[in-house]
């Protein structure tokens, strides 16, 4: 008889557990986002990413970031990638091309399947990261910052801004795919625009001496994408200033550092835009189905001081649409 009572209570408990099981409640766990940046100068992207997520409704406490900053050391970057993969975050956000390419190599080796959002890189399709812009078809999606494709446009804008330019020295990095592809775009546009270009590879031994000797007054400098080039901005600005030639970079900070102009998507806006991908993936989308986006905005920036220092004749139409920055403000 005692057994019957025992069974009665066990039955009540079992039925309760079964009924309880009918009501599934998914506990929202804090998403873990891994962030890879090759150097400090990409930090703006991270700032943009955080702000974007915040605007989309993700507060800081609802998301956790593991940030890996390689401090411009490629070897360190590789180690950090391994470490990050080991921790298996929900999503990895790469803040540039080199980070993405190295991450892909490592993912291919380890067969991990962590979604990756690249917060702006040039030519993802050409680099083999995605199959198609509309249907990436892989673990990778994000923002094509268009810095390769836009290279021709940049050449056009430089020429339009300073019509007196007769020849453009294109500084690129032959070791970086995007840099090399960008050069190809430049060379293609050069023919259409009838502006002669001189490629100048930072990886070559005579890079500095060649530039020093070849650049003349009617020349201009156009900087291609590439993380090594990003770290050489000060050097290039100093060269342009010394040679009194107009130089155009991609990012706003390049103009801030002394180049005459820059045209491209800003780090901040790329990071901000990447937050949409992070949100979509966190809400259940596969990266393979999320179309790669172009930058929401392209920024055309003029350094007022450099402009005045060069004392060239500028196209006022373009000057009127540029965001003018002042060296002093930038230095501050």
């Amino acid at each position: 008889m005692k057994m019957k009572w025992y069974f009665f209570f066990v039955t009540i408990l079992a039925v309760s557990v079964l009924l309880y099981g009918l009501f599934e409640f998914s506990d929202e766990k804090t998403p873990e986002i891994g962030v890879l940046m090759v150097g400090e100068n990409r930090y703006q992207k991270f700032t943009g990413l955080k702000k974007g997520l915040e605007d989309l409704g993700f507060e800081d406490k609802k998301i956790h970031f593991t940030v890996k900053n390689a401090k411009d050391d490629q070897g360190r970057l590789k180690r950090q990638i391994k470490s990050l993969l080991k921790s298996e975050p929900d999503i990895i956000v790469t803040l540039g091309g080199i980070e993405t390419i190295e991450l892909k190599k490592e993912i291919d080796k380890t067969n991990k399947s962590i979604p990756v959002v690249f917060a702006g890189l040039a030519a993802p399709k050409e680099l083999g990261l995605i199959e198609d812009y509309r249907n990436p078809g892989s673990l990778f999606t994000g923002i094509n910052n268009y810095h390769t494709s836009i290279s021709g446009k940049r050449l056009e804008m430089l020429k339009n801004l300073v019509p007196s330019i007769e020849r453009v020295f294109v500084i690129y990095d032959s070791t970086i795919d995007t840099s090399r592809l960008s050069l190809e775009e430049i060379q293609d546009a050069s023919g259409k625009l009838k502006v002669p270009v001189v490629p100048s590879d930072v990886s070559s031994k005579d890079f500095h001496s060649s530039l020093e000797t070849k650049i003349t007054k009617e020349d201009a400098i156009l900087v291609m994408p590439g993380f090594r080039l990003e770290s050489m901005t000060d050097e290039i600005a100093e060269l342009a200033k010394r040679k009194r030639v107009p130089a155009m970079g991609i990012y706003e900070y390049e103009a801030e550092k002394g180049l005459l102009a820059s045209y491209g998507a800003s780090f901040y806006s790329q990071g901000y835009q990447a937050s949409r991908f992070v949100s979509l993936i966190l809400q259940g989308n596969e990266p393979a189905t999320l179309p790669v986006e172009l930058p929401d905005e392209m920024k055309f920036v003029i350094n007022q001081e450099t402009k005045e220092t060069l004392k060239l004749t500028y196209n006022e139409d373009l000057l009127s649409i540029a965001d003018v920055i002042h060296q002093e403000e930038a230095d501050e």
Partner: protein, 698 residues
């Protein structure tokens, strides 16, 4: 449903009380909880739905407004640049300004009348006009009637969703169009990626019912399902100019999650309450039913005859009292059972050991039980016969049997004879008693059969002895009685012979005949006297027949006539006329009368006035015979022993002590009664009551 309730009800009825108490507890605890929960569930659900829809409407309103503002701003910019009001010229810088002012515009073009690009300022591409037809026919048609036209949502070479916007303008008399390619990724991206709580999602449907923004990218660019899903809560907001529709939905599963949480919590509470109530119910059930179970077990033990079991319940409530009562009842019952067994044993000894056969008989004369004594008297194959056939050997029930006639209280001393199992002829006395407390069908009558063969022999010997004694007493009377007629015969015979010898011629034939008649009459008298004597002395069995009581009285008196005369006793006979015949043995009654007259003669031996009155008259249901003397009477102390065998007050050699005992036995056989009334020195009266129809027929 009814069947289910019926099954549950039947199941519940078969359950022990403690299970019923448990079910009662669970039902009483869960039903209020369920009712309250249902009430709150319905109330909270509608309230929650209202709030969700309110919130969704607000979000959609804001988003719609944002989109509309974006487009309105773009239109404003385009219209301005189109030079509708001639504020702007169509220089490159003007278009660059457009790009500058709207970050979503990818390129600005001016097309000719055919829709081909004449001028282009692009954000990404070189500002080369190109050779493609930029303005699709649909837009051109719209522009013929409208001052602005939307294109379809399409994709640029980089897979970006874009839409073309165009306004017409006239330049140098030529109809041209200012068009822009507007990137939608920012709007779509924002709608898609906007984080929503609790699985809510927003999507945007274009005028062709195609989803152009959705959180779930797998649903992008597909037709929106026409039917709204039932399991979502959602609202729609229409963007009239664009013909787009913004939809926000939330699956009911997450929309009502708080309610589910509430239900879950409620269930936890309910389970807890049910468990606690069940525990209390079980305890209460056990508290209330344990004594009952104990009593039940003890009763079962008692029923199985395992003796009394004392229930130990340390309570003073009704159940405690019940247990005490049970203990007392159990002790009492055991005691009574022992007494009953003792009684039964005694009864068995008596029933089986008194030598009488006993049987229980139903109203249908069926024997349901018989004791071994009776069983031994009958053959086994006849035990199933009705009682009248088995015991009486009759083919029909006896009419005087109480089974046959319920008005008859009992059958007393009916004698019968039959051959026993051992082929012995035996005489039995047979009595039937109705049982007042018998269970119907188990034998409502007790039949007692006694073997009186020996007793009857003794009685017969007693009667015979009594007769011989009476004969002895009457011997001198007989001598005198016979002697007188013999002397008369002798005198008449001698006188007749003398006259014949002398040839007396005077003797006529008439005188001769007179002589012979006198002789004959006296011979007849002698013959009657001797016949009476012979009859009286004959040893015979009970011979039942209807006889005339007057005749028997006369015969009896003739036997003692000499004695009466000798003792100078004055006899008075008072016999009512036309007395009915009595069934029985007349000779036996004669023996009784002779005995009583002889006793009266003896009683009056010393009296001077000797009177004997014999009367017979009709009484209720029979005839009352009285023999009254004027003797010295009987002392009251010996009256109770008067009918005992061998009790006598007469001197030795004068009486055997059997007379009255035999009289008693004979009157019993008649079914009648005998009583005596006596007063010392005044005389005695013996009253015999003989029933008219109850004389035994055997």
């Amino acid at each position: 449903m009814k069947t289910m309730i019926g099954i549950l009800r039947s199941w519940l009825l078969t359950q022990p009380i403690r299970n019923k108490v448990l079910v009662f507890g669970v039902v009483m605890s869960s039903i209020p909880l369920i009712l309250i929960s249902l009430y709150y569930y319905s109330f909270v659900k509608s309230d929650l739905e209202e709030r969700i829809i309110e919130k969704q409407s607000l979000i959609l309103k804001n988003l719609s407004r944002e989109i509309e503002v974006d487009f309105d701003q773009t239109w404003r910019l385009i219209n301005e640049r189109a030079g509708v009001n001639q504020l702007y010229d169509h220089t490159e810088s003007n278009y660059y300004n457009l790009l500058h002012e709207s970050g979503s515009i990818e390129e600005v073009v001016v097309t000719n009348e055919q829709g081909y690009v004449e001028k282009r300022v692009s954000r990404y591409e070189l500002n080369l006009p190109g050779k493609e037809k930029w303005l699709p026919e649909s837009m051109m048609l719209k522009l013929q009637t409208n001052d602005q036209a939307y294109g379809k949502v399409e994709f640029n070479p980089y897979g970006q969703p874009v839409i073309k916007l165009a306004v017409p303008f006239t330049e140098n008399g030529r109809q041209k169009t200012l068009g822009v390619v507007l990137q939608l990724q920012k709007i779509i991206g924002k709608i898609s990626s906007l984080r929503q709580d609790h699985s809510s999602y927003i999507y945007l449907v274009d005028s062709n019912e195609r989803i152009i923004a959705h959180q779930d990218y797998s649903r992008l660019w597909r037709k929106q399902p026409n039917e709204k899903s039932d399991d979502v809560v959602g609202v729609k907001s229409k963007l009239d100019d664009l013909g787009w529709t913004l939809v926000m939905e939330q699956p009911e599963s997450t929309a009502y999650a708080p309610i589910k949480q509430m239900v879950q919590n409620g269930m936890s509470a309910a389970v807890l309450v049910i468990l606690v109530v069940s525990l209390i119910s079980v305890s209460a059930g056990l508290y209330f039913t344990n004594p009952i179970v104990k009593i039940d077990q003890a009763m079962n033990l008692l029923k199985q005859g395992r003796g009394s079991t004392r229930i130990s319940i340390n309570r003073k409530d009704e159940l405690g009292k019940l247990a005490n009562s049970f203990n007392e009842m159990s002790n009492e019952l055991v005691l009574k059972s022992r007494q009953l067994e003792q009684e039964k044993e005694r009864l068995e000894v008596v029933v089986n050991g008194n030598g009488a056969g006993m049987a229980l008989v139903t109203k249908d004369y069926k024997i349901t039980w018989m004791n071994p004594v009776l069983r031994n008297w009958f053959k086994n194959d006849s035990l199933s016969l009705p009682c009248y056939a088995l015991i009486g050997g009759e083919s029909a029930p006896c009419e005087d049997c109480p089974i046959y006639d319920p008005n008859s209280k009992s059958l007393q001393d009916k004698r019968l004879k039959f051959k026993t199992n051992n082929d012995e002829d035996k005489t039995f006395r047979h009595r039937v008693f109705p049982l007042n407390h018998a269970i119907e069908g188990e034998g409502e009558f007790l039949v007692v059969v006694e073997d009186i063969t020996e007793q009857q022999l003794v009685e017969e010997k007693m009667v015979q002895t009594d007769k011989l004694s009476a004969l002895g007493i009457m011997a001198s009377s007989f001598a005198h009685e016979v002697n007188n007629p013999l002397a008369t015969i002798n005198a008449y015979a001698e006188d007749l012979l003398d006259r014949i010898d002398v040839e007396d011629e005077t003797m006529s034939e008439g005188e001769t005949e007179h002589y012979l008649r006198v002789i004959q009459q006296n011979i007849e008298r002698c013959k009657r006297i001797t016949g009476n004597l012979l009859n009286f002395s004959r040893k015979q069995e009970w011979n039942a027949e209807v006889f005339d009581i007057q005749e028997i009285i006369d015969s009896s008196i003739s036997l003692v006539d000499y004695q009466l005369k000798k003792n100078k006793i004055h006899l008075t006979l008072s016999i009512e006329e036309n007395l009915p015949g009595i069934r029985g043995d007349g000779l036996k009654l004669m023996q009784v009368m002779v005995n009583l007259i002889n006793n009266a003669v003896d009683a009056m031996e010393e009296e001077e006035e000797r009177k004997l009155i014999i009367s017979a008259l009709k009484s209720k249901g029979g005839i009352l015979l009285k023999v009254e003397d004027s003797g010295n009477g009987i002392s009251p102390e010996i009256i109770p022993r008067l009918f005992d065998p061998f009790f006598t007050t007469k001197s030795a050699g004068k009486g055997t002590g059997l007379g009255l005992s035999v009289c008693y036995g004979i009157i019993q056989q008649f079914g009648g009664s005998i009583e005596v009334e006596s007063k010392c020195e005044e005389g005695s009266v013996f009253k015999l009551f003989l029933p008219l129809s109850e004389g035994k027929g055997r």
